[in-house]
Symmetry: C2
Subunit: 798 residues, 2 copies
Amino acid sequence: MRSAWRNTSSFTHFSVCVCVCVCVCVCVCLGSNYAMSNGGGGAGASISTHLLDLLEEPIPGVGTYDDFHTIDWVREKCKDRERHRKINSKKKESAWEFTKSLYDAWSGWLVVTLTGLASGALAGVIDIVADWLNDLKEGVCLSAMWFNHEQCCWDSNETTFAERDKCPQWKTWAELILGQAEGPGSYIMNYFMFTFWALSFAFLAVSLVKVFAPYACGSGIPEIKTILSGFIIRGYLGKWTLMIKTITLVLAVASGLSLGKEGPLVHVACCCGNIFSYLFPKYSKNEAKKREVLSAASAAGVSVAFGAPIGGVLFSLEEVSYYFPLKTLWRSFFAALVAAFVLRSINPFGNSRLVLFYVEYHTPWYLFELFPFILLGVFGGLWGAFFIRANIAWCRRRKSTRFGKYPVLEVITVAAITAIVAFPNPYTRQNTSELIKELFTDCGPLESSQLCQYRSQMNGSQAYPAGSDAAAAPGVYSAMWQLSLALVFKIIMTIFTFGLKVPSGLFIPSMAIGAIAGRIVGIAVEQLAYYHHDWFLFREWCEVGADCITPGLYAMVGAAACLGGVTRMTVSLVVIVFELTGGLEYIVPLMAAVMTSKWVGDAFGREGIYEAHIRLNGYPFLDAKEEFTHTTLAREVMRPRRNDPPLAVLTQDDMTLAELQNIISQTSCNGFPVIVSKESQRLVGFALRRDITIAIENARRKQEGIMLNSWVYFTQHAPTLPADSPRPLKLRSILDMSPFTVTDHTPMEIVVDIFRKLGLRQCLVTHNGRLLGIITKKDILRHMAQMANQDPESIMFN
Amino acid sequence: MRSAWRNTSSFTHFSVCVCVCVCVCVCVCLGSNYAMSNGGGGAGASISTHLLDLLEEPIPGVGTYDDFHTIDWVREKCKDRERHRKINSKKKESAWEFTKSLYDAWSGWLVVTLTGLASGALAGVIDIVADWLNDLKEGVCLSAMWFNHEQCCWDSNETTFAERDKCPQWKTWAELILGQAEGPGSYIMNYFMFTFWALSFAFLAVSLVKVFAPYACGSGIPEIKTILSGFIIRGYLGKWTLMIKTITLVLAVASGLSLGKEGPLVHVACCCGNIFSYLFPKYSKNEAKKREVLSAASAAGVSVAFGAPIGGVLFSLEEVSYYFPLKTLWRSFFAALVAAFVLRSINPFGNSRLVLFYVEYHTPWYLFELFPFILLGVFGGLWGAFFIRANIAWCRRRKSTRFGKYPVLEVITVAAITAIVAFPNPYTRQNTSELIKELFTDCGPLESSQLCQYRSQMNGSQAYPAGSDAAAAPGVYSAMWQLSLALVFKIIMTIFTFGLKVPSGLFIPSMAIGAIAGRIVGIAVEQLAYYHHDWFLFREWCEVGADCITPGLYAMVGAAACLGGVTRMTVSLVVIVFELTGGLEYIVPLMAAVMTSKWVGDAFGREGIYEAHIRLNGYPFLDAKEEFTHTTLAREVMRPRRNDPPLAVLTQDDMTLAELQNIISQTSCNGFPVIVSKESQRLVGFALRRDITIAIENARRKQEGIMLNSWVYFTQHAPTLPADSPRPLKLRSILDMSPFTVTDHTPMEIVVDIFRKLGLRQCLVTHNGRLLGIITKKDILRHMAQMANQDPESIMFN
């Protein structure tokens, strides 16, 4: 690591980094300006709905969505195919049209490339700045202020390898202010400055979030899951959120709070994807296509967070995405790779690796070790279940009491407690990522960590493990104590930290907790094997003096188990951790632990932390993983219920404008079925409230003679009207002629399946061809909540 | 490799292998016996369709499928949920029921574990036996007949490393029969014996396939794709197919034909999955659930074929599977891992690796090299497009002319030509997998291959590449000639071989062609860089004497490009090859080549070889990847067409049994819509032909008084009948009360989407609530063929 940085001047890196950032910023600005000129916000701008009626004049605004509404996937995809057909039919007309069609065909690749570049560059910048800020809590580099502790001392020739942390250029605050490096005074001074900086960073972070971009708080993954499932939250992935999230993420990480930057990196990458998609009308004007870019972006985000491109793609597939066609798989993979390579060329850790905690193990594992691995899995599952309950209970308290009104105070309190408690313990004082790295790393001859103070090393023998004395020295025992305290501290603080109004990821704290537990178990097993190497369990494979247990591997397995318990990820988690080690060998322990942890966690509640937060916030998210197991039929879920007023319907050709406006103003539904006549109740189509309103306004503006007693008709030809009646209003162009219908006898499990797979917004219920009622996505969510004995009103988005 | 085998006695391996095989055989037999006792074949046995009407007595046989029919995914999934609910509601009744529910919950894991074990064991056996048979063509090991050439000479202490292929124990046929090792006589003798064995193996293989299991031929992947999409081909995955395919695969590989064992291994794994699923009623009685097991099995198949568990899962996801819920992803991963570990513990290649061609490269690649890599991609795409056209043309000729009636003769002719042409050229004589290995491997000091005869090595300098003389010696030039000839030979023979009536995979021949082309390009670039190292292109990074080009990497990129051109796989292909090398570093060249090859190939035709074969055979496969881009509406596709007779419908309560039977006998459709009355045409439900027939037979057998003039009714209550009428027949229990409907105005792109995503078999078309017609999966396929200007009648399964 040392030599890597020395060989390649830091300035080269710095300049590469700056260049990439400038490019990214320019692009982001271009993208968002374009976005603003197109109407801005989250949903696409005015789109003509050609698919509805090609012969009619398109009405501007029809086919767009309001904020906090659900998109209709089927219709969006149709719109995209229509656009594609148009471009294809035109492309032979002229060279310009051909170029346009080429640009259109390539825009998918372009947008994921840009997203990958931007995510990689931002991740690199965040890594470097967070490191520097983190070291600022301890001291400064006098020779070059912009160097962090490690870089500062690399340039010094006066230090030996063993004392590589100490060099004259690096001054702690005590040295700088008091002029002395040792003694209780300087300890207190360092303690004070540590807390001071932590509080400053935390205050800055929460203030920026509160003032400029409230959406920048949290990990963002629950909201991204909801957005990808087809919900619209304007501004959640906008440029302000991106900017503030990037800045405050760095501050929050540096403040020492028990949070990570991995989850928020996914949000940052998705912001990049959203902003770049405004450069391409194919994506900016189609909510479904835009979500393909966001899926790729979230893969890129995980790719840079963990240096695991394949894991990132699987994360996007397994955890966040809703609609994931194969084309997206391939593009996600590409985006993830581009992001990973940009990050590697920035080289933020100076070790030519993508992540801080890349490890290589050299000893195989033995069948007996599956037992402690499964124990770690049980621990992970229990921790996950406990954490989800405790954190949700705390967040609910924050939401429901007046306590939630003082976010700044809360952040500062938590940051203060964290800093004050963390400082005395070296394992909590250091950066959490570095702690994980130390715990993952196996003891080798060059390791100076307290965790590696075995007798063989104390005796000066360099040849560990061949040094044959793996008995723990006092250093290991005191490290064990400190680790246990750190474990308790992390567990408590993480519960109170996740959900604060600062960017906060959960991956790193969870992994840290698991890694600490794993390392403790690993050392325990190691000592057991050392002192009882003639036990039948160890006799076979643990020869005296041989290095048969790898405590670092236990730490890694524990980290995976805890992360699995919290998020309930499976394949993607195993692949992410597999990409950290690179050995197929260790997949089996990982799988065993992750499976156990998922099963144990699921026994206490099937939701992962992200689903729990989605439900807490009441987003309309229909989970694809959850099975619908009840036997209800469609007629029991549809509205109107038994004692409700009848469904508000429109007839196709015998209503006046006044009647129509009356119906619209008296009801709050988002759409109305259109039927042949009140008597037959046979279904013709479905019209959206928003579209009707826009069409009426448009007609009033453009057509003369539209009055309150004008007839409104949805048929192809105008009905025969009395001679004195005013000009009729034709609304066929906004009528959806192919509404989805199910019969009243359809089991709800099929209805739920249709909603999930096709991404519907509503579905009409018929009996023997007559319209009976309507089922919307929210009806389904409400019904599912009822079935699970929850208060259905508590779950809706507010 | 040598030492690995020496350390661990071959007998250990052999015994492990035998044990696993015995276990597998016992399980397979158990499984298939169970299958036979359950009615055997492919579709599940008698299932009561509780979901239709829980109050009715279930009729045996209702809800099953005929051979060559399409399953209804929605209904199968409902059936499974019903079964699950039943078990769940019962499980608290007694300890026995609780055990049963536990068994049910675990059966998914059990069946994938068994499948993984069996696939890994069979792959190991196939590898070992194929190797041995392949060497039998050259000679025998006198000291131990069951050793192949390599193992035979490892036990000999008389050979040096350089001459490790020659040892006194191993006798070529010429030595054994003529008693002389050198000279034209012995060459002719060896040539003759080589051809003789090749022909014998080929004859045996094709005869076994022809007599015992005609389904065992080909690669099986097109059929597995079709089966996974919901088609039933009884016996395609049965025990006979498994047994014969395993035996003939070994023979076909050993016969030296230009084919591989990787594709058929997927078929073998799927057979194992199918057979084991009969042990578990959850899977044997539900066609949709069984396909989850098959998806996992195909992942295990690729996992053992290439030693790439993650690649296998992605292959299953991207290439073969149709319905792939996340639960299946996790189980597929597990099956793939189990299979890989069984294969590794069998250790068929004696190198502790899963595949023969595992490689590690040590030099990085340079940006300029992307140019030859993309060239290789273009070559791969062109080869893929050419191969697909030529092979399909040849297969169509075989199908349509009488030439196809002599499969044995054809196989023997091709085998004879292959053997006769292959023998003189060392690169075609050797096993194709070994050829690929040799081409992938970089030249090192220990490589004795002709391809590595650089001047530095001729001078006796061991330190290549530091030997600084990378100029090619005559050996390399003659190797280049031989490779070029081998390339032409492989290209021609592969076209005629794929589609023969023996098990034949396409992965290895395609990879071999790409690897040869890649290696030739690689050596050319290397020599260019050597002789022109002061060109501006090479100056920067190619210092004199440095080893800046890795020809082995070119071979690997070429192999990926050619495989990509033929199969049009993307992510899974890159991941599979990535798992061969293990370095993230080389993903970018691979992606560049695979993307280019896909684009170039797609320009000539969007179908991969498997889709082309599916279409050639007329399987009803609705490809999820192909976009439906036309603007037709549902009413243009539905039957009846304009001039057709009206749709055969049943009325809900005014038909006699005679009328019903009349309608059934006069039409050939598989199901009939049930309407309220002929006048209103309002839809009530849908009844399947098979179910009606079974229900009538059942009623005749069990209920008295059912006569030809009995009234048939589908309503809840019997209609009021005249006093003298015979006992009516109630058929409500077989009526599907929730048929899928679309309106006549629905764009076909939405209809196709619904069919794909929900796995429908048919869909009814209505207009304003009245039934108009029906669209089946075959109607859609026929319409798509018409739109693509193909003869719609040629594509249907025959």
